[in-house]
Symmetry: C2
Subunit: 185 residues, 2 copies
DNA sequence: AATTTACGTCAGTCATATTGACTTAATTCT
DNA sequence: AGAATTAAGTCAATATGACTGACGTAAATT
């Protein structure tokens, strides 16, 4: 479920297509309340990734590059193996993307000080700038989405998103994110 | 940014890899607070789509099939054109996926009553069952994520997600979702 | 009668992923 | 010191889901 958008859309009921009407009536009872959240999450995520996509396209990068750049920016000096575990892709998939990022001067590989097998990953000045720009765009959207919500909503949403994550993975992700969770108790 | 997960992950700082420590310290000041939301949203969405992916795999379906099945289930009798506008993919891309769903007996095409050019789309009994199962999985995850949140959180999250969507698209999506917005606003 | 719409199809391409096997170098374990 | 493991890279072949652009046909609308 990715990449959805539409301009002038017409759906049955509006078009009088087949006599059938809009979404099947499941929203009458409270039992299926979060039903609409499914679709909202879908569209929200789509637009959330849309902003970066546009910028990345200028560099002939895709989402795979975004992921790599983002995590290297957040964890300077990380190993290739770490990245593989986080992204859960194969070495081959990462290899290509990583090579392109290195070739484009966005990511730098330095030999490990203690372990010379390692190629520790760092963003270059250019890579840092791109990563920041992409993050900025996503922050702008997030901040806009938080406008007008009651006090404490940001923390509620943070909690909600965390609880959407597989329980097994939460601890790892929290360590990775190192958010304001700890700070707030 | 899709498909991320990890089991035993080690990151610099823990591994003592290169002497560099975890995420670069940007979370000290409140100006960058929603930073962590970026990553949480990323992982949350990943796991959100993970449940359906596993079921779909059994049928040799992917996310593209999920999207199509979902919207047809929600809008029985919709036209191919509607689907193209919602999904914003090309006819060719949809064609293949749709054909597979029809061949697998998940979706049925019926000639429009008033307009015989149309191939109105309906889920079959089987398709309906699969769609329901996929929805059920996502509902379970959503409901689990809502546990323990303060009163009114669901509405807050609904509002948040809506405001994450491009302003131009919101009206269309609201019409499509037909959620409890109207009922409560 | 001409145009537009709904749908389908052909042919070729691209990005991102996959699996499995294999190599090299360096480190760690026994 | 020798064996095993780990980090990283590489090869080859394949799959999925998307793309562009052109073309065809039937049916509806103007």
């Amino acid at each position: 479920m990715t990449d959805v958008n539409f301009k002038t859309m017409s759906l049955p009921g509006q078009t009088g297509a087949g006599g059938t009407s809009g979404p099947s009536d499941q929203s009458s009872d409270d039992a299926s309340l979060p039903y609409d959240l499914i679709e909202l999450l879908f569209f929200a995520y789509r637009d959330f990734t849309g902003d970066p996509d546009d910028v990345l396209a200028k560099f002939d990068f895709g989402r795979a590059h975004h992921r790599v750049l983002h995590f290297v920016e957040r964890n300077p000096g990380m190993m290739v193996t770490d990245l593989l575990n986080i992204l859960r892709i194969t070495k081959q998939s990462l290899g290509r993307v990583l090579k392109q990022l290195v070739d484009a001067g966005m990511i730098e590989q330095r030999e490990g000080l203690h372990d010379r097998r390692q190629r520790l990953l760092y963003t270059t000045e250019q890579g840092h700038a791109l990563a920041e720009e992409l993050t900025r765009l996503q922050k702008v959207r997030l901040e806009r989405a938080l406008i007008g919500l009651p006090n404490g909503s940001e923390e509620t949403i943070r909690q909600f998103l965390l609880q959407m994550i597989d329980p097994d993975a939460r601890a790892d992700i929290l360590a990775l994110v190192r958010s304001s969770f700890d700070l707030k108790g």
